[in-house]
């Protein structure tokens, strides 16, 4: 039952906020938004395998892999919803001040706030549906729905760049997902059981899959959901979309949506027959390393800090693909996969929210124009550097553990290549981060006020960073216990 509630609660609240619209004040609708996020979190907690039956008919289910992801995205959403209230308030303050200064001020919002909030909630509902669906067709419908309801979020603040990013996102992702649909049809041809794409039946009869059609299906699915996930040759929409949108939208896209798309590929590897696993492994490895290479190439000397974070998402999706490839031959790696997903999501949400704060204060996304963050916004700067360091995999971070185990698993040659690429990404990211934090900040009055507003928004990213830190520390203790390296 909680499984259904996960989807219904956000959808119903979206309807309520949309239809009440302007009849309630902006404050009230923001409070409703937070309330919905909290309820969703409770329901996600109750639907964990510990508390409840984790299957509803042949449509919804949670297993050891998807249950933590559901909880993760529910908790991310709580922080983002609380942050959203403060952020919208800060936007209000700034546009009021701008309107006082000159009368021809144009509100940068493309559509009203309640539409934005209800679209975000629908986005959450679609993601929950995707995470908990036990039917690959239903999963496809949910993933396509996430694209459609998140597209308006991208251009909440009207600008040419945002519209362009939205168009690319819509077109490229929809094309990719349509390819995945073709892959599903191929799968339906390949499987002899006529189960209607039900996951349990497919897993049970995976050995009876027709190899030729099954392999074609896997290629199409990898290309399709890989587009949505941002794997390398299909990643082109991702940096554009992340750079042009408000921080909290990119936080949701990166922290929650990419995991859902990844889950699609993961489910598909679960139903592949053993004979196809080596070729699946090769394809995943190739795409993973290509993503890492692309990210390393574009991160070095990157001039836009939100694109920088976007490329880092591509990097980590590549690492996920590589870990998945390893987990096909060694089932222990599935836990590592989960650790990496959780660590990446926590850190990426914190970083994108902080990037939103920086944009609020400085009004630019250029690395060179942002200077002296340690002076103007001390807490944000401290957290930004800390999270960047952890994202690059420096020790107390959960990503350190997962990447270390991955290097052990890959062996000397591939491991060395991985380490080299990781080092390049880290160098590029830290270079940009240090440049932004050091130096003297500009002394304009308007910027100082905006920086004060942004400084007040630091608690939610701090929560995410703290959780990532403690998760990493406990993983390291676990690692020392199990492997007794010393």
């Amino acid at each position: 039952m909680p499984l259904l509630l996960n989807i219904l609660i956000p959808a119903v609240f979206a309807g309520i906020i949309f239809f009440l619209g302007k009849r309630i004040s902006a404050q009230q609708s923001r409070r409703l938004f937070v309330l919905c996020a909290l309820l969703n979190f409770v329901s996600a907690l109750l639907s964990q395998p510990l508390f409840a039956l984790t299957q509803l008919g042949s449509w919804l289910f949670l297993d050891r892999f998807s249950a933590p992801i559901l909880l993760l995205s529910a908790s991310l959403f709580v922080w983002v919803s609380i942050y959203a209230g403060g952020w919208l308030q800060a936007l209000d303050d700034m546009s009021r001040r701008g309107a006082e200064r000159d009368s021809g001020f144009r509100d940068p919002r493309l559509f009203p706030e309640h539409v934005f909030l209800s679209c975000t909630l629908l986005f959450l509902a679609a993601m929950n549906l995707a995470i908990s669906s036990a039917n690959l067709g239903l999963f496809w419908v949910a993933i396509e729905a996430t694209t459609l309801v998140s597209a308006p979020l991208l251009c909440f603040q009207r600008s040419k760049a945002a519209l362009e990013a939205m168009w690319k996102y819509l077109l490229i992702c929809s094309l990719g997902i349509a390819l995945a649909l073709l892959g599903l049809f191929f799968l339906a041809i390949a499987e002899p059981t006529q189960s209607g794409l039900n996951l349990f039946a497919l897993m049970e009869h995976s050995e009876a899959l027709n190899l030729q059609w099954g392999k074609a299906a896997f290629i199409l699915i990898l290309a399709g959901y890989g587009t949505k996930m941002g794997l390398a040759p299909f990643h082109t929409w991702l940096p554009d979309a992340y750079s042009a949108t408000p921080g909290l939208v990119s936080a949701l896209l990166s922290g929650a949506l990419l995991n859902c798309a990844f889950l699609g590929i993961f489910r598909f590897t679960q139903i592949m027959p053993v004979a196809l696993l080596p070729s699946c492994r090769q394809m995943l490895l190739a795409l993973g390393f290509l993503s890492l290479l692309t990210a390393a190439f574009f991160v070095v000397r990157q001039q836009n800090y939100k694109r920088l974070l976007g490329y880092s998402s591509i990097e980590h999706m590549g690492i996920l693909a590589i870990i998945l490839a390893c987990s096909l031959s060694n089932a222990d790696m599935q836990r590592v996969l989960l650790w990496h997903i959780i660590g990446h999501s926590l850190l990426k949400v914190a970083l994108f929210l902080l990037a939103g704060n920086i944009f609020l204060a400085y009004g630019t996304r250029s690395v060179t124009a942002v200077k002296g963050m340690f002076e103007s916004m001390r807490w944000n700067a401290f957290l930004f550097l800390l999270c960047l360091l952890m994202l690059c995999g420096s020790p107390p971070s959960p990503l350190f553990v997962s990447e270390l185990l991955l290097v052990f698993e890959l062996g000397p040659w591939l491991g060395a290549a991985l380490l080299f690429l990781l080092f390049m990404v880290a160098a590029g990211m830290l270079h940009a981060g240090m440049r932004m934090c050091m130096g003297t900040s500009p002394r304009q009055e308007s910027m100082r006020k905006a920086a004060l507003l942004a400084e007040r928004l630091f608690p939610m990213p701090a929560v995410a960073a703290f959780l990532a830190l403690s998760f990493g520390v406990s993983l390291i203790f676990l690692l020392i216990r199990t492997y007794t390296i010393f």
């Binding site: 419908v141 073709l182 059609w213």
Partner: protein, 221 residues
């Protein structure tokens, strides 16, 4: 082999070919509408030819399909076209004669490719797979080779229709709920894209998608 199904499939193919050749957007929208209608009609024709009884579920789905893909979507596209005030694709990236040739070679390619695959016995017609592949390739080609954002939407619809045709032609069973979900997604998709075209027109004063190129990597200073 029965003539009716083959006629439907070949008309679908012809619509795809004409799409690559026509410059007037209104014409393109009508062609996509015809494609949607043929697609909705296919399961009914199959049921009639095979002589089986017509399920109410099949009937209902076919009706909804025809209504959405044959009428509602084209209507929304037409509204978006009028709002954005464009009638023709004036300067395509690839001329119309060349487009026709490319479309022909894509069709040839898909017939060749479809011959390489093994099919099960329950395929509606041997033509279904090649026709679907041709439509998919022509849709992709339209998205790449045309400048107007609206033509890209039309290309996407052609792509989507052909994938659906593949599903219908292979007699795949994936349940009414899923089918309705897919249809709903496509519907919302075109709705959102229509709004997006209008907003792009407002902001940029044109809807040439190839000029949407401000976001890219800049060389470091």
């Amino acid at each position: 082999m029965n003539g009716l199904i083959e006629i439907l499939l070949l008309s679908f193919l012809l619509c795809g070919f004409l799409l690559a050749n026509s410059s007037r957007l209104m014409h393109c929208i009508k062609l996509v509408a015809v494609q949607g209608f043929l697609l909705g009609f296919l399961p009914l024709a199959v049921a009639k030819v095979e002589g089986g009884s017509l399920d109410w579920e099949v009937l209902l789905l076919a009706m909804i399909n025809i209504a959405v893909k044959g009428a509602v979507l084209p209507y929304m596209l037409q509204k978006a076209m009028l709002k954005a005030g464009v009638r023709r694709e004036m300067e395509p990236l690839l001329g119309y004669a060349a487009s026709g040739l490319v479309a022909l070679s894509l069709i040839a390619l898909s017939f060749w490719f479809a011959q390489q695959l093994e099919y099960s016995e329950q395929v509606v017609s041997r033509l279904a797979a090649p026709v679907a592949f041709s439509g998919i390739l022509i849709g992709l080609f339209l998205i790449v080779a045309r400048r107007k954002a609206l033509t890209q939407v039309i290309g996407f619809l052609c792509f989507e229709n052909s994938i659906a045709l593949f599903g219908a032609g292979m007699m795949l069973q994936y349940g009414a709920l899923i089918e309705l979900g897919i249809l709903l997604d496509v519907f919302v998709m075109v709705f959102v894209m229509g709004i997006a075209v209008f907003q792009i027109k407002q902001e940029f004063q044109h809807i040439n998608a190839d000029l949407l190129n401000a976001l890219k990597e800049r060389p470091g200073k």
